[in-house]
């Protein structure tokens, strides 16, 4: 049984806070998604309460959708970095699918394999360069320089 029941008001404030705490957000969103599933299950068990719970179900789904949108807007870096582990496990080779005990299915492992043998270089290449002749692009870094606007406290 879950301890945390995110209410719509909490959800709203969470959205405003943005990426204040990525861990909390992740757990919140998991809760929300679970909640959504739970309601579906409840609906299956007792069809007569469907009407009574309908407004609630809608709210939670809306909140979950809003959160997902938020998540897509600001990529969850923690998940991106630690979510997938590229460490190679020895067991991996043994659990490969075998056909008739003779042939081994050679799976094209795509991106991961492609990356494994690429160039070992620490430079971060610029993929989509800005047009540094355009006025607005020039203005976008204006305050990085001492000649730009200073904060009030300095």
């Amino acid at each position: 049984i879950r301890k945390k029941h995110p209410k719509p008001s909490q959800v709203d404030s969470g959205q405003k806070l943005g990426s204040e705490n990525l861990i909390d957000e992740t757990s919140d969103i998991e809760d929300l998604l679970k909640e959504e599933e739970d309601y579906k299950e409840e609906n299956n068990y007792s069809p007569e309460t469907l009407g009574a719970l309908k407004w609630k179900e809608d709210l939670s789904r809306k909140a979950a959708e809003a959160f997902l949108r938020q998540q897509q807007a600001i990529p969850n870096l923690r998940k991106l970095i630690y979510g997938m582990v590229t460490e190679d496990n020895e067991e991996e080779g043994d659990t490969q699918e075998e056909l008739g005990g003779l042939f081994r299915v050679s799976q094209p492992e795509g991106e991961c394999k492609h990356k494994a043998d690429s160039l070992d270089c620490s430079r971060f290449l610029v993929e989509a360069p800005h047009d540094w002749d355009a006025e607005e692009v020039i203005n976008s870094i204006k305050d990085c320089f001492v000649t730009g606007k200073w904060e009030d406290d300095k």
Partner: protein, 373 residues
Amino acid sequence: MATQAHCLSYVGCNFLRQRLVLSTLSGRPVKIRKIRARDDNPGLRDFEASFIRLLDKITNGSRIEINQTGTTLYYQPGLLYGGFVEHDCSVLRSIGYYLESLLCLAPFMKHPLKIVLRGVTNDQVDPSVDVLKATALPLLKQFGIDGEAFELKIVRRGMPPGGGGEVVFSCPVRKVLKPIQLTDPGKIKRIRGMAYSVRVSPQMANRIVDSARSILNKFIPDVYIYTDHMKGVNSGKSPGFGLSLVAETTNGTFLSAELASNPQGQGTAVLPEDLGRNCAKLLLEEIYRGGCVDSTNQSLALLLMTLGQQDVSKVLLGPLSPYTIEFLRHLKSFFQIMFKIETKPCGEELKGGDKVLMTCVGIGFSNLSKTLK
């Protein structure tokens, strides 16, 4: 076997250096399999073999096993020994390739490291010696690695494909590292640069300077680009020219960019004017990314934060490079350290793109050799 149990296993030759460096620091052996296994020319390349030899030189008691085809490498790290070392780097990669890893390891040696590296000082792939000197050394100083003996000197310049450059790097040892709190990069107060030319007309460097200045002066008046024309034996074996630029902020952050001409016999000739302009634009891109550490040194900063005293370290970075992302994963597997990662959207401020605030508590790594002496 005990050693086998905690051995980490990886596939492929990518990120070889960071895996071996973290293995050396953590004492955990690594096994890297399928190195270019599907390549027409499988196995380790010359420059990787040279890197492994370098690791063997600066450590004591390392065990390195490579299979016959060179596709599997087993590395059981020894103790970081240091002392005076000389190494001929492969000309396939620049000295920067080797130096980046040495910067990670040097503060933890038993004896202060003084190393002479020979090879290519500037190329188009790796961070050049000039850039590392201007950015990585001030970064290490933030962690308390300082002193007169801390030096990186370019004795000879060598361009690919011939090489022939020489640098001397010396680094003192520290028992513990200071935690850092770099959350405000400050504002850029000046831009310095180095336009170098070897075995071509010294006028090339002047042409680079003029074109780079024409772009940078729109942003800040304090731009000075030194020209460096080395002659005779100090100019290496191949002709070439290039530019490295460094923007320094009021809070001691150094952001860098660089470009080098195409190696002799490869590609078309590059005009020095184009090179200067493009390099200036690369510096502006780096400023747009921003942060307190430039994109090349992100992983170095994160490593030293991890190895620092058991205290909170914070650093504000620009977008994380693919190399850094993989490095964070490796830090987790070798040291069980996970960073707190907060995105800082740029909002209304005219300070470039989104930033990332990285926070961690150091593992309190201390250089034991230092106390035993």
